[in-house]
Symmetry: C2
DNA sequence: TCACATTCTGAATACGTATTCTTGAACGTC
DNA sequence: GACGTTCAAGAATACGTATTCAGAATGTGA
């Protein structure tokens, strides 16, 4: 019985009929058009309120050729999204930003296999007005397509490897300077007096790995003879395994730059296994400044990526591009990182070492 | 120059003109209507391919009165979503589920203040076809409204407090049995031989707190004279503070049921501060079975909520409701939980105690 | 009084699709 | 040869809105 209750929609036509005006006038009232008589306007508004009118977003979208949706496509990592606090942060900040705009967030998870279909569905079918692309791997062919289609998008990530030779092609991007961030992190360890500083990076092909390694190289240049570089998959247990073999190895580092907080926790576990005390036997600096940093009792020194600011810039620009307004500033915005120093990089024998 | 490249849309009318048929026929071909001649159909399809045609989701939505979007509204917690792995999991699983359907996920973050507006925008404006509601607090007036409007939704959470007296009102829900989960967790500690088992719950008004406390009570009934119950806000540091005062208090428990993994990590930190060894001085069992469980070197015993299964049921039902198909099974589905036993609840002196 | 600008509003149209209604032809059947 | 029947496909319409165009009413200046 109750399920038979039919959801009847109040349209502008209904409001028009009830206020003895035309549908066009109702539309104008809604748009705040000044050319409509103040009295008429008030009357119509009153009727709208009385009948609880709400414009239909579907019709409006068709007419205006705008869906009001911003797309965020994330690639499904091997073990689900669970372990990646970066995306939770990102999505959270984006929602936060969009909540003060007329736009909404449409989030999609793709695998390599479904990527093509999702692209079609989201862009060509006009489901979203614009796209936020999060790129970790260099040379993504998607970007070429988006540019070719003149589809509004911004890139969160490093465009260097991607940048089209054609200067005319608009590629707006925002990113941290990961080289600088890597340098900052490693330099902090150098300054703290460590002598055998290593870096545990993610897989080699990933831009963020490469960049931070480069920064690390710069920081230790002249301070340390040979760089100590290891790679591991992202995720806690992979990092732990690698870290165990590092700590049991010949050339044990006394400090480690680790590519993210989850991996750092893996290193922490490995250190316990290998009886290395943090920070005295092994100092750690990592990236992301997630809540994991507080899980370590002495606190994990980590690099804040200022995701909030990244999102502000990225979304702000995307909306301007969508609405065809001029975008101010550089093509590529670099958001500064900040090192949050905590116990994991502050050895108690600091002065002894120095 | 390049920005002037105008995105021209290929419509059914274009395809119709080019294949010398009517627009209606093109639509029929697209729908796979058998009443269209096979030769015509092939010809039209060929033209579609040649011109890279894609139906316009906006127009289709207006016509079919379906947006193809599923809404997920999350309340913004005090410190952002970052600390809540539950939502990251949930969103991730939902996206996963929807990726094999024609639906997409529209995620929205609200505060208490913006809740009303979002409800209007999402539902009344027909932006989404259905809603996944995640309810922690009892008696949410939103549910009444959704029911009154006959809007398709499913509830993830316990409907007991919410359930309308009117049996006819459709309220589909899926949830863990948190009483059972609480009982299971506490019983595990009883069986392990602990004598002074406490529970560190979240804020009192929250259903999940109440239910698990109730389960805890049942488990210790007859085994332990007085229940030891504490409340704290969610989040690592709040839990840590509370845990410190617990461990420094008069009646120190030898085992603690903690409401989620993040709070449990807070307890772990507190234990270090108070020189309590885990699990020998303090055993811990918590909930969510997140990746945080592996951050503790001995492993954190935790209760898997089977979020994947919850999402399967919830989304499966929601889609059937939206498409007006009969929904099978109970109004309220209870997804079982599983205790993942790890080191934090396995004292080395287990047999000594027993 | 007439020409003309101004102010408000209604009629008509378009957005791109799905569907209903109608038509035309081909094909028996009586 | 007149009359259903069936099949394929076109014409027309509707979904709910925004916008363009046109018209009525009023006021203004000569």
């Amino acid at each position: 019985m109750s399920s038979a209750k039919k959801q009847i929609r109040v349209t502008q036509r209904d409001i028009a009929r009830l206020s003895k005006v035309s549908q066009a006038t109702v539309s104008r009232v809604l748009a705040g058009d000044d050319r409509v008589d103040i009295l008429t306007s008030e009357r119509v508004k009153q009727v709208m309120r009385e009948h609880n009118y709400r414009p239909d977003v579907l019709a409006r979208s068709l007419r205006s050729r705008r869906s009001g949706l911003i797309g965020l496509v994330v690639k499904r990592p091997a073990g689900g999204l669970h372990d990646d606090p970066f995306f939770a942060n990102l999505a959270s900040e984006i929602m936060d930003f969009l909540s003060s705009t007329p736009y909404h967030l449409c989030m999609e998870m793709v695998t390599d296999r479904t990527q093509e279909a999702v692209y079609d569905e989201l862009l060509r079918a006009r489901r979203v007005d614009g796209l936020i692309l999060v790129e970790s791997e260099a040379r993504d062919e998607r970007i070429q397509r988006l540019q070719a289609d003149c589809f509004p998008f911004v890139l969160i990530g490093n465009p260097d490897e991607i940048q089209n030779a054609d200067e005319d092609d608009q590629l707006w991007s925002v990113d941290n300077d990961n080289v600088a961030a890597g340098e900052l992190a490693a330099k902090h360890l150098v300054d703290a007096g460590f002598k055998k500083i290593g870096i545990l990076a993610g897989p080699p092909a990933v831009t963020v790995s490469e960049d931070r390694i480069e920064g690390y190289r710069r920081a230790i240049a002249g301070k340390q003879d040979t760089p100590m570089i290891w790679h591991s998959d992202f995720g806690l247990s992979a990092a732990k395994d690698t870290a165990v073999s590092i700590l049991c190895g010949e050339e044990r580092p006394d400090a480690l730059v680790v590519l993210d907080d989850f991996m750092a926790m893996g290193v922490v576990l490995a250190a316990r296994v290998c009886h290395a005390k943090i920070p005295d036997d092994l100092a750690i600096v990592s990236f992301n400044d997630s809540s994991l940093c507080h899980v370590l009792d002495c606190g994990l020194t980590s690099t804040s990526l200022n995701i909030r600011e990244i999102v502000q810039v990225a979304c702000g620009r995307l909306l301007r591009i969508i609405e065809d307004k001029p975008v101010a500033g550089e093509r590529r915005v670099v958001v500064p990182t900040q090192l949050k120093v905590r116990g994991s990089s502050l050895p108690s024998r600091e002065f002894v070492k120095a």
